[in-house]
């Protein structure tokens, strides 16, 4: 069926997918619905020769009948080219052979530090989050990574309570961005170059090269600048090159719906925001 509209979850996946370039070696570990769909999409469209390393079972180039809701399952891995032990993936990260990794964050700050560990103080946690899996070490050593959030948009009430996902200061740094209280990546002696792109449900960001602060690159068609600023705790950095996000193609959306037939991707988004249907211009 040829799609005649798309929704925000699908737009985020298309944007994540576009951060993958042809021949890139790309890995995602846990909590994988959006990255796995994006990685599969990239291999069907603009990056057919990218290498898709999927999950803690080390599935190489999996082609799955449907995306299961958990990342380690035979439904996901049984048709891969072959599997490698997960420590080989970490070895590749340590030795600089992973081109791109995806990391989500319950909180992300303007320097691209992300928190997956705890809301509040770790000695008296308000919410203990699941943890970063391999995000800390990989964020130090791997070449580049894409940060993402499906919850950049927050309600008026959450804004009043300052419950920002895109926050001024994360409660705990799990995944290391460009600048931390302990120093810059260079000062810290980290091998990898850090996050270069951030994809959210409101827009796409890169980092301003001098300040290393997140910079708005494109605004999704479902929102506007005012909303993005209202949902972001720090003042947005942008220049005259900011534009609207290039919409997905019908082909991309059709692929996504086929890859993720169980609609796992939708669980990550505010149900209200999934109701907005964006129609294709032509």
């Amino acid at each position: 069926m040829i799609p005649d509209f798309y929704t925000v979850d699908e737009l985020v996946i298309v944007c994540l997918s576009r951060t993958i370039k042809e021949n890139d070696i790309v890995f995602n570990g846990v909590a994988s619905a959006l990255p796995f769909t994006a990685m599969a999409l990239a291999k069907m469209t603009h990056a057919k020769n990218s290498v898709f390393l999927g999950g803690l079972q080390g599935a190489v180039n999996p082609v799955f009948p449907f995306l299961p809701p958990v990342s380690v399952d035979q439904a996901f891995s049984q048709n891969c080219d072959f599997s490698i032990p997960v420590d080989e993936v970490f070895n590749m990260g340590n030795s600089g052979k992973l081109d791109r990794i995806f990391f989500g964050g319950a909180q992300i700050d303007k320097y691209g530090n992300a928190n997956n560990t705890v809301i509040g103080d770790i000695s008296r946690p308000k919410v203990k989050l699941p943890g970063g899996a391999g995000a800390f070490s990989l964020s130090c050593a791997a070449k580049k990574f894409t940060l993402w959030s499906s919850r950049h948009f927050i309600t008026e009430a959450a804004r009043q309570q300052k419950n920002f996902t895109m926050t001024d200061k994360v409660d705990f740094i799990t995944t290391v961005g460009h600048v931390t209280p302990a120093g810059t990546r260079k000062e810290l002696g980290l091998r990898g170059s850090g996050p270069d792109l951030v994809v959210t449900d409101l827009g796409v960001f890169d980092f301003e090269p001098n300040s290393n602060v997140m910079r708005l690159k494109s605004i999704h068609p479902c929102t506007d600048f005012g909303t993005i600023q209202a949902c972001t705790a720090f003042p947005l950095v942008f220049d005259e090159s900011v534009k609207f996000t290039v919409p997905p193609t019908r082909e991309e959306i059709a692929h996504i719906r086929k890859i993720d037939t169980l609609n796992i991707r939708k669980k990550l988004f505010d149900p209200m925001r999934l109701e907005l249907k964006m129609v294709f211009a032509h």
Binding site: G29, V30, A31, S32, A33, L56, Q57, P65, F66, P69, V70, V72, D73, Q74, A75, S77, S83, P85, V86, D87, F90, G93, N94, N113, T117, I122, P125, K126, V127, K128, L129, P130, G131, G132, A133, G134, A135, F136, S137, S139, C140, A141, F172, I173, T174, T175, V176, T180, A182, G183, R185, L188, G189, L190, R191, T261, L262, I264, K267, L268
Partner: protein, 306 residues
């Protein structure tokens, strides 16, 4: 790591878990919602083991249940949860927030190097420089230094040695050879470095059959073998059975308070005499054949996840 050679290593769940001491450092087989050693975890709770220190990668139900059953004293894991399917592991969350489980959160790759140091018989491993994360304040034992050869910045992480590994697999023989089908994850490494290795299996096979299968974990590394069909339930153990999403959903719902969790523990752990009784409780033949029905094709497989 201690070599164990016996003619017959078959034990009951109670006997096998009696080899675990309070305060032991624990590793578990499987990863996330795949092939966790959950029958052994249930027995740890039933045997009232206390203050275990988990040093492990990404897990889901096993860690959550250990927290619910008040078995863990410290959790040095990289991840505990149900990903975006069923969300946070609420018992783990509550135990960390109340302070009954000490948060020693770590990273898969760091932990792997610490296990590796034990495997290689060396006291530490150097890693490409780790910095900038608050996880370093949780782990003051990590040391920053310059490489004496190149001057490159590195971080040293000390060897970590588990006292006990609990693993669930598809096959074993009475001598203790173990065959894992599908992804092995770090189960072989865990069996190599742990002092005591307890393995539950779906099926005990003859030594001739094991020779045909070729063991994943050799007999001289294992301490005890326990036969427990559906021993990973409610996580998956392919090709035998898929993930029991409906059971996990019920578990997560009951995890919301300590009171409702007590109901779950009473029903599925304290009130259960045998492994067969457990299978009856989770839904008997109807449930077990549903969890095996993934083999019938894509549509049926998708049903498992609905």
């Amino acid at each position: 790591m201690s070599v164990c050679i016996k003619e017959n290593k078959i034990m009951s769940l109670v006997e096998a878990i009696s080899l675990v001491a309070d305060g032991d450092k624990l590793v578990m087989g499987g990863v996330l919602t795949a092939r966790e050693p959950n029958a052994l975890v249930r027995q740890l709770i039933k045997s009232k083991k206390k203050n275990l220190h988990s040093i492990d990668g990404a897990h889901s139900f096993a860690v959550d249940l250990l927290c619910a059953g008040d078995v863990l004293g410290a959790c040095e894991n990289s991840f505990a949860g149900y990903e975006f399917d069923l969300g946070l592991a609420l018992n783990y969350r509550r135990a960390c927030e109340k302070g009954t489980v000490k948060i020693r959160e770590t990273d898969c790759n760091i932990l792997l190097q610490q296990w590796r140091a034990t495997e290689y018989g060396i006291p530490f491993m150097p890693m490409p420089r780790l910095g900038g994360s608050d996880l370093l304040s949780v782990h003051p034992e990590f040391i920053q230094m310059q490489c004496p050869y190149t001057g490159d910045p590195v971080t040293l992480v000390p060897a970590l040695k588990p006292d006990v590994a609990i693993i669930h697999a598809q096959f074993a023989d009475v001598r203790g050879n173990v065959k894992i089908m599908g992804p092995i994850f770090k189960d072989k490494l865990k069996a190599t470095i742990a002092e005591t290795v307890i393995v539950s299996v779906e099926e005990v096979v003859s030594e001739a059959k094991m020779k045909e299968l070729q063991p994943t974990i050799p007999y001289y590394l294992t301490t005890a073998i326990v036969k427990v069909p559906f021993g990973s339930h409610p996580t998956c153990c392919y090709p035998n059975y898929a993930y029991d999403r409906k059971h996990l959903k019920e578990f997560v719902a009951l995890s919301k308070t300590e009171e409702t969790m007590k109901e779950y523990l009473g029903k599925y752990i304290y009130g259960v005499e045998t492994s067969d009784d457990y299978l009856t409780l989770i839904g008997g033949e109807q449930k077990t054949s549903f969890l095996q029905s993934w083999k019938q094709g894509k549509d049926q497989w998708m049903e498992v996840f609905k």
